[in-house]
């Protein structure tokens, strides 16, 4: 129950952060990605602030040796830069550049009632499912 409440709280903070930073507005995101056009640096500020805060926060959190509500940290174990990482990231980037949406903002925008997200999110879930299914078959 603690873990569930903690996750709920973290999710809420994250969602509010996305909205305050306007990452839920695809035109703001596309404005950053449009380096040859009327450039909007907002995303750089958001990422910079987020990474700096998380770097410090992670350092402090990991110092405990274990999470408050679990026995171990669940960190990603993969270390090798492989084809899946490169191909997956490239494919993701194209989709992001076409729409201005990545997973978090898309879900938030859906809850915010934006029509674009209503189409994007199911397609996103389908894409993820497709990748899972094709991996298993391999």
């Amino acid at each position: 129950m603690n873990r569930v409440l903690a996750a709920l709280f973290a999710g809420a903070l994250f969602g509010i952060g996305l909205v305050l930073s306007r990452m839920t507005d695809p035109t703001v995101v596309l404005g950053f990605l449009d380096v040859a056009g009327a450039w909007n640096p907002s995303l750089a500020i958001v990422m910079g602030a987020a990474v700096a805060t998380t770097t410090l926060g992670y350092r402090l959190a990991l110092r405990r040796g274990r999470p408050v509500f679990d026995t171990d940290f669940h960190m990603p174990v993969a270390r090798v830069v492989d084809t899946a990482l490169l191909a997956g990231s490239a494919v993701f980037g194209v989709g992001w550049g076409l729409s201005g949406y990545c997973p978090g903002p898309a879900l938030t925008a859906l809850a915010g009632g934006v029509g674009s997200a209503l189409w994007f999110v199911p397609a996103m879930l389908a894409g993820g499912l497709l990748q899972r299914l094709t991996t298993r078959a391999a």
């Binding site: 999710g11 969602g15 839920t24 500020i45 987020a50 999470p67 989709g95």
Partner: protein, 140 residues
């Protein structure tokens, strides 16, 4: 209010959220990872916190958007939105992360994989926008 204050505070909040999730639950706040963990049949006990996180994200975020009157749509036409969604869903699953998982949490951990992933999806996104807007001349 200066235009950079929202991005600054928003970014700090995102960082705090990621920190809280790691500090309390020991989990990385990568949205695609959290959602993909729901799509994949998970062992008992793993689903609860994921559902809760998404609930919080959508609940608080959705409410905030409505209160602030944020409703800007994506400029992409419907068929492109569907394709983009498929690509984002497929790509983040294959690549093991997205802007939050690799871009924020991964970089904060000084992960080489995340550095490469972030550079790759940023480059791909920038290139895509360039082609769409400045080569094909499609409306922004």
């Amino acid at each position: 209010m200066a235009p950079w204050l929202g991005p600054l505070f928003g970014g700090i909040l995102i960082g705090l959220a990621a920190t809280v999730l790691l500090w309390l639950n020991g989990r990385v706040a990568g949205i695609s990872g959290i959602v993909n963990g729901l799509l994949r049949p998970a062992p008992g006990g793993d689903r609860g916190w994921r559902v809760a996180f998404v609930f919080g994200l959508m609940g608080a975020g959705g409410l905030a958007m409505r209160l602030l009157g944020q409703s800007t749509a994506s400029p992409a036409p419907l068929p492109l939105l569907l394709v983009a969604g498929l690509l984002v869903g497929y790509g983040t699953s294959l690549g093991g992360g997205c802007t939050s998982g690799h871009g924020v949490c991964g970089l904060a951990r000084l992960s080489k994989r995340s550095l490469v992933a972030t550079g790759t999806f940023m480059a791909a996104a920038v290139a895509t926008v360039y082609v769409v807007r400045h080569v094909l001349g499609a409306a922004p």
